[in-house]
């Protein structure tokens, strides 16, 4: 089974600061996803990264993918309270299966 690990698991940051969440996975994959989840809610798709070196940005979030290192990052720029949520990465394995990371619980403090 493909292993997907995120760090940190918990992140508390002040508004206006920058930080990066890391997602490592154990075997080759051709696509990586980032999701946001608010408490008690479903998973909201943020980014789909399809190739080595892919970078996507939406607002204060930017995701990148290094398939050789099996690493994706989610960078938060000038955090605001509305970004408080849990962020998951997910990786596609063979047979069109998708495995999720451990999640990063982000709290942005005013």
């Amino acid at each position: 089974e493909l292993k997907v690990e995120q760090n940190p698991l918990f992140l508390s940051m002040q508004e206006g600061k920058n930080y990066t969440i890391y997602c490592n996975y154990s075997t080759t994959s051709d696509r990586l996803y980032w999701y946001r989840q608010d408490p008690g809610k479903s998973l909201e798709s943020l980014f789909v990264l399809l190739s080595n070196g892919a970078v996507k940005q939406e607002g204060r979030l930017m995701a990148s993918l290094d398939t050789k290192a099996r690493l994706s990052t989610l960078h938060i720029t000038a955090a605001v309270h509305d970004l408080s949520a849990t962020y998951f990465c997910a990786v596609r394995a063979s047979g069109n299966q998708f495995y999720f990371g451990t999640g990063t619980s982000l709290t942005v403090i005013p």
Binding site: K41, L50, F88, N96, Q97, F98, T102, G103
Partner: protein
């Protein structure tokens, strides 16, 4: 925006009872999934379904679980004899095809076993 719908949104059941969770995937999608998320934990893969059969299942998906797509639209997850540790949010998801880039998730079904 197409969507995956799930029912019920919340169900409370007694230990040992059977539960059926229902999902209506997006109509032209080919791959269907059930995931489980215990409160505060990660999203865990249970089972995938393609071409009217299970394509892969995890260790969690033991003999008490089953899935079927009885009428070509609904995709159901049955838990035969619920245990306390089955309490979780269950998410249904679908993907259009092997090249599909987006996984569409339903809103989830909260199952509480008492």
């Amino acid at each position: 925006e197409p969507e995956v719908t799930q029912t019920p949104s919340h169900q409370v059941t007694q230990m040992g009872q059977e539960v059926i969770l229902r999902c209506v995937p997006i109509s032209n999608h080919l791959y269907f999934y059930w995931y489980r998320q215990i409160l505060g934990q990660k999203v865990e893969f249970l089972v995938s379904f393609y071409n009217n059969e299970i394509s892969e299942k995890s260790e969690i998906f033991d003999d008490q679980f089953s899935v079927e797509r009885p009428d070509g639209s609904n995709f159901t997850l049955k838990i035969r004899s619920t245990k306390l540790e089955d309490s979780a949010m269950y998410f249904c998801a679908s993907v259009s095809g092997f090249s599909g880039n987006t996984i569409y998730f339903g809103e989830g079904s909260w199952l509480t076993v008492v």
